[in-house]
Amino acid sequence: MATQNGSQDGHTITALVEDKPGVLNRITNMFRRRGYNIASLAVGPSEISGLSRMTFVVEGDPATVEQVAKNLNKLIDVIKVVDVSQDHSVRRELALIRVRSNVQNRSEIMQIVDIFRANIVDVAPDSLIVEVIGDEEKVDALIELLQSFSVQEVMRTGTVAMGRGMGPDRAPAPEGLRMRMESGL
């Protein structure tokens, strides 16, 4: 089994929040005021009307991430916070990548795009736009490969994450975490 809650520098938390004016501001303000770093943030409507769901990728050691989750929970407009363990979740983001290309190298780019199961969604005489869906590592890897053709612009949505089946086969939480959960932390 890998680390308790994913890697040290990219820890994923989701939050169910009220869809009201100013809520995003309250949340980002808390991050700013406490000095926490958001690596990425994605927001959209949830399955419940009037509520949105946010996915945060937070940088920091486990103690810091625990404080982030608790401080999120403390906000009145935040209804539920879930610490999404990397080993038990599906994580995806979408990226649009504009790459410089010409007739000579277009097919070479298309091959790379195919390997990544990405799509070319726009072609212009001197560039094309690649659309890719995957976890950050996959998106990073594709961008890295496309750099040799000169990447002109990158748009990423930020990661969204969802825990895998919450059934009985879900791995039990480690002792320390369970103790904290039991004590209401």
């Binding site: 501001n25 625990e66 608790k70 009145i76 209804i79 103790m179 004590s183 209401g184 932390l185």
Partner: protein
Amino acid sequence: MRRNGGQIVCEALLREGVDVIFGLPGGAILPLYQILPEYPELRHILVRHEQGAAHAADGYARVTGRPGVAWATSGPGATNLVTGIATAQMDSVPMVIVTGQVGRAAIGSDAFQETDITGITLPITKHNYLVMHASEIARVIKEAFYIANSGRPGPVLVDIPKDVFTEEVEVEWPDKIDLPGYKPNLKGHSGMIRRAAQMINSARRPVILAGHGVIISRAYDELRELAETAQIPVVTTLLGIGCFPEDHVLSVGMPGMHGMAYASLAIEEADLLIALGMRFDDRITGDTSTFATRSKKIHVDVDPTEIGKNIPVDVPIVGDLKRVLIEMNKRVEPADRLEWLNEVEQLKRDHPSMLVRKTDKLIPQYVIKEISEATQGKATIVTGVGQHQMWAAQHYTFREPCSLVSSGGAGAMGYEVPGAMGAQVGSPGKVVWSIAGDGGFQMTMCELATMVENRIPVKIAIFNNGFLGMVRQWQELFYERSYVATGYSGNPDFVKLADAFGIFGARVTDKTQVRPAIMDAMKFDGPAIVDFVVEQEENVYPMIPSGMSVNEMIEEPQPQEALR
């Protein structure tokens, strides 16, 4: 029942049991003020500056346990509240603040006296609201009071545009609160409580570190039961002072930067630290890496974010202190712990840091002792921030909960006068002494007029050393006595000032005049000022310099003169 927004605000406040409002009107909040005469049960106290309204509401809340209410208009009226709101947030004081806002159509246009006060107060309120329809007011005010005074209390601000006050709607009073994102965990985890009790029973050198939470939760009887049953010495934080009687044999005073040396040392020597409703502030811990390294730690707090924030904890318990202690006490076994208590007594003998130096000079510690004796420790003491605050914490013998009211976390100079005003309004029968610095007093002394107007008989002791004393002390100790911008050479004549306000005033320059002046001030029917012209370069000892450990404590230089 048709009501306009202003009427709904007033009726909602009455439904929450509000009897007094501290405020100052202006254009945007005027429609609310103009209907106030319809509600004579709401007593409005007109302050001279909105900071005074916020601090007064805070002082009122600290002594009554009920949310204090402050009103101010938009723009500068609202921003003037900010220091007071931050103070309440840092010290977990329940407050509901209503501010007027420019009309809805003008919001965002930089209209006259428009300020984004919900934006400004976002990080210094527990929650805040901008109310865009009169139909929301009843619900919002109900939620505001519930949020302010449940869980870990704090200030809640409600910003209402001018035309919402005049908007007429059919009012519906909500009978319950629906806040799915706000469910304070009050009960405390029974397994953790059991584990904590076991640790207490097997500890040899336990220390209780009791904070403001004991007072907020009204858990003093339970604390006393725990301490007496298991014979555990009790150390209190600055804001915890009064939660355990200081003349009790198990009381070991206040630890930390300017706490009693023996209290800090007892924490160091402990094998179990039972932290109750406190947050391991840096003024308590100093260097966190060397703080109380020999002890296991139990931490009980209603706010989960406080647990593990500064100090790692062995047994975390999230819950209301009173409820947790009731459960814990059922499992704590009687013990005598004579050996440990003797050691603590020995620490007290070895570090008699709280004795007042015997001298003919007028020293501030002596004045505090005299006020303590003259009031038999039964007054409510409201302090500003700085040296006089620490001397009051050290030398006044507090016996009752809520008897020390002080700006702890925020450290807001200027709290002493309006804070005392609010405390006096909240406890009309009590003697309230404002322990003021000459610096802090001049920040908010305009509220003397409010006291005169509203017959609020606060007694003010100005510790007049002609300096921003604590800053001067740091300059003396850490900046080679280079007194940059700390001397107050142009202080007014405070006795004449008292005279100008038509209140009692006296100046004391000699030890022999101290007690008579205190008694005269208390005999006077109304506010009173005693200007104690004390030694200018007196320092607060002991002192653990900022960020250092208890080993680096500076104790009072051995006095040439004998100790009293």
